[in-house]
């Protein structure tokens, strides 16, 4: 018993002891440990460019910060552990992180006075804690940082990554190359005061005592040669003021596997660099080489000493720079692109360095400028594979081959395509940047944010079809339609792929908006638009078929007002009244009489106003003449009073002019100007003509108001007439007798007098039945109307059934109606009939953003409505139904 107890205790201690170190270790490592290496991520993208090849529909498996596998996702799933996280990237283009082969990201502008400072390390000047988001936004994951830029040998470069929390891990190479800058700009090192200056006086002036190196290329090369010689022979004398430790550094870079980075702007510099390299068996990276033509025949031999060349693009991204005028007979300077071509042909890797660090964010764009002489793969290699190779990091970064560090960039599309954007950047498998939540200065945003729609086809409604079209919607308005419209990069894009965008449909007769069948009668004075319900569930259903606007009227024997409105949640009235609706039914003799009476009184009213308007216009003209005349007359004393009176009069006609717009309000004042106008007539002056009289304003009758628009031709009469006799009567009365724009509603028998209708400019609203069988004859009304040249639109005479209007028309199309005719009957024709074509009916800049996204061509069997937009707002989308 005792024994076992003891045993248990000891065991417990052993267990504790075993646990403790592990726990301690975990605690100490907790803050530092990398993301657990077991994590596996799978990225699936439409295109993966590994740096060597392009994989369509590829996958990339990342494990422990490294690329584990990359391949094509044909019909089989790649094998990855069950716990792996799969990231579908859709249409994205995935490529290795970009590498800038030279930057000045270490401190600059504070170079040493000494011209040779090989001990200086650029890494010491690189701030790991600066925000490199602009670079990351440009997809740059790895940069070389160069030491000073103004001395002959400013020090050693380093290669670092642009993000990551641990500086140690971010440092890919702490001593990458030894930098030498030839070229006249770097030769004139400052002179050094040595020994230190004592007292300055007349006899002992302040004098620089010691030039560092000569300023000619010859003396610079000689100085370098001496340095390399001394470094290569331990024990020799120290040349110039180079210290032992400086020589140690130089000696280090003369070893195999190490590189000297040498900037050679002229042919002579290049020659000198190559000569030094051959003499001391150095490996060179040539930066900014001059003209390559003198080396045309020897370029192939460069491979022994030159491990790569870094070129600077001739231009900055988006900047305009002056070009020097060449000398008469001087050869045309070689472009950077030509140099790249030559070097690649000679088998020498080429990488890029932007002109300024500020351009690092546009590195990919700069690479694209080499497309004039390089292939896409070659251009991309300049900022990936080649750059990695010449930095000596070809086995770590620059490609997405298995085993490489998982540094990659996710682009929204092909890298050199317009509008392609860098969406995400990964370094060692970790997401270090994503455009969605970047903390960067944003492009000035217009509010609300515009939205870009893309589709396979856009039917603009005016007969045009735009293939691979784009549309920019801003607020409630279309701002652009075309193959490539202007839109800021950050504006959300809705790419509908194979979809077709058409204008929103118009239903010329719906029973929507009042929440059910209207009770009682309405007079023409009724503004139906004021009775529309907001957030009507019927409306929400109705618009799912693609109908965005409807006409609403009251079915009654007498004339009824008609309102046109949009099926948005808060119904937007397009025009109220949009038309007057009449009905020809029942006893035609009676009906004819009633209609004629109504029209007659309407016409009388309208004519009275027209007359008044005409008279008033004349009056205004005369009054102006009169006033002008009066102003010319010398003001005589007895008439002193009159000008005063006139003044008041002068005002009044003005007021009247404004009154006309709102006549109903000003009625009581009507008489005054008339009285006033008689006053001056009493005492006419000798030379003044009688003052003109203001015409009498007719009484305003609200019930008759719509007739003014009707007779002015500003709105049509919608005349419901179905049978032939009804149609004939309607045409007689409306067209022949009263000559108003006439749209027949229903018009089932219209085909029987189609020629007459066409002649008399009568349009038709067909529906809700489009194809009928009468007396064993099938009548396809829209088809007949189309062939007869009679404009026609459609109506559903339904509430929620409005959504089926387009599908009902599909049947009509199947039975022979042209799809284009059917579409214009749903879009442009209604807009024209109602005089709304300034706003709706077509998809064009400046028009209302009412549109329907269809999965295929309109009226195709398989076509469904994907989404509906009214006034720039999505009011329905297929996802809603799910």
């Amino acid at each position: 018993m005792k024994r076992s107890l003891f045993h248990g205790k000891s065991l417990r201690w052993v267990w504790l002891a075993a646990l403790l170190p592990g726990w301690l270790w975990a605690a100490s490592q907790g803050t530092l440990s990398p993301p657990s290496t077991a994590a596996t991520d799978v990225y699936v993208a439409q295109t993966i460019w590994t740096g060597k090849k392009t994989i369509n529909h590829g996958y990339l498996i990342v494990e422990g910060g490294k690329v584990k596998e990359v391949g094509e996702m044909r019909n089989h799933q790649p094998a990855y552990p069950a716990h792996a996280k799969v990231h579908p990237l859709g249409k994205a283009f995935l490529m290795p992180g970009l590498i800038a082969a030279e930057t000045s990201l270490a401190e600059r502008g504070r170079d040493d006075v000494q011209t040779l400072t090989p001990e200086v390390r650029a890494l010491d000047g690189f701030n790991f804690y600066e925000d490199y988001q602009p670079l990351l936004a440009g997809g740059v994951t790895t940069v070389q940082v160069a030491p000073g830029t103004r001395r002959l040998m400013p020090g050693q470069g380093a290669v670092v990554q642009t993000a990551g929390s641990d500086p140690e891990r971010r440092t890919l190479k702490d001593r990458e190359s030894l930098r030498i800058l030839l070229g006249s700009a770097y030769r004139n090192a400052p002179r050094i005061y040595e020994p230190p200056i004592g007292a300055v006086s007349f006899d002992k002036p302040l004098d620089p005592t010691k030039p560092q190196l000569g300023s000619s290329l010859a003396s610079v090369v000689a100085g370098l040669r001496a340095a390399f010689q001394a470094a290569g022979q331990p024990g020799g004398p120290l040349p110039g003021d180079l210290s032992e430790s400086a020589l140690d550094v130089i000696a280090e870079y003369m070893k195999p596997g190490k590189t000297i980075r040498i900037t050679t702007p002229t042919v002579a510099d290049m020659r000198a660099a190559l000569a030094l390299a051959r003499e001391f068996n150095l490996k060179l990276i040539l930066v900014d080489p001059g003209d390559l033509r003198p080396f045309r025949t020897s370029l192939e031999q460069w491979k022994d000493v030159v491990i790569g060349v870094i070129l600077q693009p001739d231009a900055r991204a988006g900047a305009i720079q002056e070009v020097p005028v060449p000398e008469e007979d001087a050869p045309k300077p070689m472009t950077s692109q030509e140099k790249a071509r030559w070097l690649l042909d000679a088998g020498i890797p080429v990488a890029l360095r932007p002109q300024q660090d500020a351009d690092l964010k546009d590195l990919l764009y700069l690479a694209s400028s080499y497309r004039t002489s390089l292939s896409v793969d070659e251009s991309l290699s300049l900022v990936t594979r080649h750059a990695a190779h010449l930095l000596g990091l070809g086995d770590r970064v620059g490609t997405l081959e298995p085993g490489q560090q998982a540094d990659f960039v996710v682009l929204s599309g092909p890298p050199f395509a317009a509008r392609s954007r860098i969406d995400q950047v990964f370094i060692a498998g970790e997401n270090v940047y994503s455009a969605a939540n970047a903390n960067l200065p944003k492009a000035v945003k217009s509010k609300p944010l515009p939205m870009l729609l893309k589709a396979r086809q856009i039917y603009t409604g005016d007969g045009q079809r735009i293939e691979q079209g784009q549309m920019l919607i801003h607020g409630s308005t279309i701002r652009g339609v075309g193959r490539s419209v202007s839109a800021s990069l950050d504006c959300p894009v809705h790419d509908f792929g194979q979809a077709v965008i058409v204008p929103g449909f118009f239903d010329m007769g719906a029973k929507l908006g009042l929440g059910g069948a209207p009770q009682g009668n309405a007079t023409l004075g009724t503004k139906l638009g004021e009775y529309l319900l907001t957030s009507d569930p019927q409306v929400r259903l109705a618009r799912q078929g693609g109908v965005t606007s409807v006409l609403l009227s009251i079915e009654q024997a007498g004339p009824s007002p008609v309102v046109a409105f949009k099926l948005s949640d808060r119904p937007q009235v397009l025009k109220d009244p949009a038309a007057i609706r009449f009905q020809v039914s029942g006893n035609l003799t009676m009906t004819g009489q009633t209609l004629r009476d109504a029209l007659r009184s309407g016409k009388a009213y309208a004519d009275a106003w027209t007359q008044y308007e005409r008279d008033n216009e004349e009056y205004q003209k005369k009054l102006a003449e009169y006033n002008a005349l009066k102003a010319k007359l010398p003001a005589s004393k007895p008439e002193e009073k009159k000008p005063e009176e006139n003044k008041t009069e002068e005002k009044k006609p003005d007021e009247k002019a404004t009154e006309e717009k709102k006549p109903e309000e000003k009625k009581p004042e009507e008489k005054k100007p008339a009285e006033g106008s008689t006053a001056p007539a009493k005492g006419p002056s000798e030379s003044l003509p009688p003052e003109p009289k203001a015409p009498q304003k007719p009484q305003l009758v609200e019930v008759l108001e719509p007739y003014r628009s009707l007779f002015a031709g500003k709105m049509p009469a919608l005349v419901e007439a179905r049978r032939l006799d009804q149609i004939q009567l309607a045409v007689t009365i409306f067209r022949d007798e009263f000559n108003v724009r006439t749209v027949l509603v229903g018009a089932d028998d219209a085909h029987r007098m189609e020629t007459a209708l066409a002649e008399k400019d009568v349009s038709v609203i067909a529906g809700p039945e489009f194809i009928r069988t009468v007396d064993r004859e099938t009548i396809h009304l829209p088809l007949r109307l189309a062939n007869a040249g009679i404009p026609f639109a459609f109506q559903s005479q339904a509430a929620t059934g409005v959504q089926q209007l387009p599908s009902a028309l599909r049947y009509a199309v199947r039975q022979g109606l042209g799809a284009d005719d059917a579409l214009s009957g749903l879009t442009t024709t209604p807009a024209q009939l109602l005089g709304l074509d300034q706003r709706i009916g077509v998809l064009a800049a400046g028009k209302d953003a009412d549109l329907v996204v269809l999965s295929g061509p309109p009226f195709d069997a398989a076509t469904r409505v994907i989404a509906v937009m009214i006034d720039g707002q999505w009011v329905h989308s297929m996802e809603d139904d799910r």
Binding site: R110, D124, G125, P167, S243, E244
Partner: protein
């Protein structure tokens, strides 16, 4: 009028203080007992109504039932709080000049520059600071050697607790230099010292070979990764070590000082101005096997993760809370250093603002931001941002002693330690608490009753 009167006060006080000190018996190790009150020893739980017995400048006993011998002078501290004197882990005051203009003076010692009569020490005693680690300022590459001193004494020699506390290294480049050449110069000096050390060793050992000395120089833990120092090719034939970049300074002295740094005899107090200096400091620490203490300026919070991983002692700069503008978005952001360092579980030590607490009297028109002039205020700031009171007090006593390597002598109230303690009128972190008495090495060096300067200040205020 007012100001003039204060000046007169100050003058008088300084004179008086000087007199007082010279007249104080330097070695008279009288015994002292503190009785009653709450004792916060910082080495264990607080004692209510305890007794502390002090003999020969040391704490002889501390506890509830310590018998007080009859020959001992007793201070009654009933209702008061007794705790160890505060320790400022890093300060560049008390000297005639903060920074040396020559960038390369590792052989200098602050002891030669400390002036015990400076008002600074006066202020220290008034505010309960009994020990200060004085180091050269932050602007000199190798600024010199710091020392840990008590804040009371007639001559510097009376004050010294530890002579060579460490060498101050600043990673902030001097004048027109870039960080790169600053680091290159730093390395050059350290390399020279390393070679010097090897040569010394070679002289003493019988058969020196270049290879063996190389091996002994490079620590075994070097894993040979590219980020570590590359091996210098043996260049033994050329013989002498390179001259250091010392200007008109004696090169041998520089080398000797840096050699003791490399040998680990001196701590390296590395000042990091920016976060980017932190990895450099760690790299130097690793490459040269230094025993480092990090003196971190405000920007260094960005490298907190690295600091935490290094496990090195950290001394924060006085401004603990400040505003920063995000470069990309232009948004202002408040940075609270105590929170950042707590998050990373980094124990920090504190210092107070460099302006000098004397400002309270010297410049009455100074803005009312004097809080950071006081160690207790700094500790209270820690409490404000989430630390416990014990932890905050620990920071300015025991932990500070540990950071500067003086924890065997000061920092807590334990038998055998230096009798450096303060008697407070109340809770140590309360704003209305006064330091009643400050005792250094068993001597009462400050007594509020006798503080005519303070009284004068308060009185003249009252007259207004």
């Amino acid at each position: 009028m007012m100001r003039r009167r204060i000046h007169v006060h100050v003058l008088g006080w300084v004179l008086l203080a000087g007199w007082g000190m010279t007249s104080a018996p330097v070695a008279a190790q009288e015994s002292l007992a503190l009785r009653g009150g709450k004792i916060i020893p910082m080495s264990g739980p607080a004692l209510e109504e305890g007794v502390i017995l002090i003999r020969n400048g040391k704490i002889e006993a501390i506890g509830k039932d310590v018998a007080i011998p009859p020959d001992v002078k007793v201070i009654d501290a009933k209702g008061k709080v007794i705790m160890p004197g505060f320790i400022e882990a890093h300060s560049s005051r008390g000297m005639d000049q903060t920074n040396e203009t020559n960038p390369n003076t590792p052989f200098l010692s602050v002891i030669d520059g400390i002036d015990p009569s400076q008002e600074y020490f006066d202020e220290c005693r008034r505010n309960g600071v009994t020990t200060v680690a004085i180091f050269p300022g932050n602007n000199t590459m190798f600024g010199g050697q710091g020392a840990i001193v008590k804040t009371a004494g007639v001559t510097v020699n009376d004050m010294i607790l530890k002579r060579g506390a460490g060498i101050k290294i600043s990673l902030k480049p001097t004048a027109e230099r870039s960080r790169m050449s600053h680091m290159a110069a730093l390395r050059k000096e350290l390399d020279a010292a390393r070679i010097f050390l090897e040569e010394e060793k070679a002289k003493s050992s019988p058969k020196p070979t270049a290879a063996s000395s190389d091996a002994s120089r490079e620590p075994k833990d070097d894993d040979g990764s590219t980020t570590n120092g590359f091996q210098r090719p043996p260049r033994g034939q050329r013989g002498t070590a390179p001259r250091p970049d010392a200007g008109n300074v004696d090169a041998a002295q520089v080398r000797a000082a840096l050699a003791s740094l490399l040998k680990g005899e001196l701590l390296a107090f590395i000042y990091c101005e920016l976060a980017m200096d932190v990895p450099q400091a760690l790299r130097l620490t690793k490459e040269y096997g230094l025993k480092s203490v990090l003196v971190l300026d405000r920007d260094c919070y960005k490298a907190a993760k690295l600091v935490a991983a290094s496990g090195l002692p950290v001394i924060l700069e006085p401004t603990l809370v400040f505003w920063e503008t995000q470069p990309q978005t232009g948004e202002d952001q408040q940075i609270i250093l105590p929170e950042v360092y707590r998050e990373h579980k980094i124990p920090v030590a504190l210092q107070v603002t460099g302006i000098g607490s004397g400002n309270l009297f010297r410049q009455p028109n100074l803005p009312p931001t004097l809080g950071t002039n006081f160690l207790w205020y700094q500790a209270a700031t820690l409490v404000k941002y989430g630390a416990s009171e014990e932890e905050a007090l620990d920071t300015i006593t025991r932990r500070a002693a540990q950071a500067v390597g003086a924890d065997k002598l000061v920092g807590t109230l334990e038998a055998g330690k230096d009798a450096d303690l303060i008697i407070l009128s109340g809770d140590p972190l309360k704003i209305d608490t006064w330091v009643e008495k400050t005792i250094v090495n068993g001597q009462v060096v400050y007594d509020r009753e006798q503080d005519r300067k303070l009284k004068g200040l308060l009185q003249s205020d009252a007259k207004k």
